[in-house]
């Protein structure tokens, strides 16, 4: 499932963001969308964060939303070497972001399944202890994620 969603052109290896708002904007900016659509998507992601942070702890966050602006389920992965204050459950800065966006109608439950896969991979990465942030290429980061994707 994750393999289908991971794309080298939707990866940020060295995020500059310092805050939650900046991180979400930086992740959204990767997508080939108009400024209007980016703004809509950013607001939708922030609305979800108001309900409680998607920073699941151990340095990982999974911001997500269903939005009118995308045509297909979309995943962006970002790495922050310095870490971002994301109001995570354990208070720790976030180094690895998985931003998942789905279309408003999702009859195949692809969105929830993808979210579940990301949560499972995140737990496997977190279980190892320190999260790697020293990736030299998008492919290396994607391979690292897929190494932890055990169905």
């Amino acid at each position: 499932m994750l393999k289908e969603l991971l794309r080298e052109d939707r990866v940020i290896l060295d995020m500059k963001a310092k805050t939650k708002e900046e991180a979400l904007k930086e992740l959204v900016d990767v997508l080939d969308l108009s400024e209007e659509k980016k703004e809509i998507l950013f607001k939708s992601l922030m609305q979800r964060e108001i309900l409680g942070s998607t920073g699941i702890g151990k340095g990982i966050a999974i911001p997500h939303s269903r939005s009118i602006v995308v045509d297909n389920i979309t995943l962006v992965v970002g790495v922050s070497k310095e870490g971002v204050d994301f109001d995570s459950l354990d208070g720790k800065p976030v180094h690895l972001f998985f931003m998942l966006i789905a279309t408003p109608n999702d009859p195949s439950m692809k969105y929830l399944t993808a979210l579940g896969s990301i949560a499972r991979v995140s737990r496997a990465i977190a279980h190892e202890g320190e999260i790697r942030t020293d990736f030299s290429s998008p492919k290396e980061l994607i391979d690292y994620i897929l190494e932890h994707d055990h169905e």
């Binding site: 209007e36 809509i40 409680g52 998607t54 009118i68 109608n105 929830l112 949560a119």
Partner: protein
């Protein structure tokens, strides 16, 4: 009606975003699959925000608002984007004469969903 159709449609898809979010976090599968738990109180706050927006939209244009609610029950959503002159709900090609209008809410002639053109 005091707000323009464009402004109205922008608020309508914000309402749809809120409806989708509420539906998502109330789905028991959501917590089971993600491990993310949303407090009841926060969901209630979000529902209040949703209902305030719905009230505003109902007052401004009752026909469109009721249409949105009816379509939501039928399709799970009431408003969709036009992409390449195609409805993204039923994927029907739209007649060339169908274009965004400032004076009227435009719906898909095939499935009836409310249409929005985003830049």
């Amino acid at each position: 009606m005091t707000m323009s159709k464009r402004e109205y449609l922008r608020k309508l898809y914000l309402l749809q975003d809120l409806d989708l979010l509420i539906q998502q976090v109330k789905d028991p599968e959501y917590e089971a699959k993600t491990g993310l738990k949303v407090e009841e109180e926060r969901i209630a706050d979000l529902e209040r925000k949703r209902n305030e927006l719905a009230k505003e939209l109902l007052k401004a244009d009752p026909v469109t608002y009721q249409r949105y609610e009816m379509l939501k029950r039928r399709y799970g959503r009431g408003i969709t984007r036009v992409v390449n002159h195609m409805c993204t709900n039923c994927f029907a090609a739209l007649p060339a004469s169908l274009t965004p209008r400032d004076d009227e809410v435009v719906t898909c002639p095939n499935c009836g969903i409310i249409l929005i053109w985003l830049e």
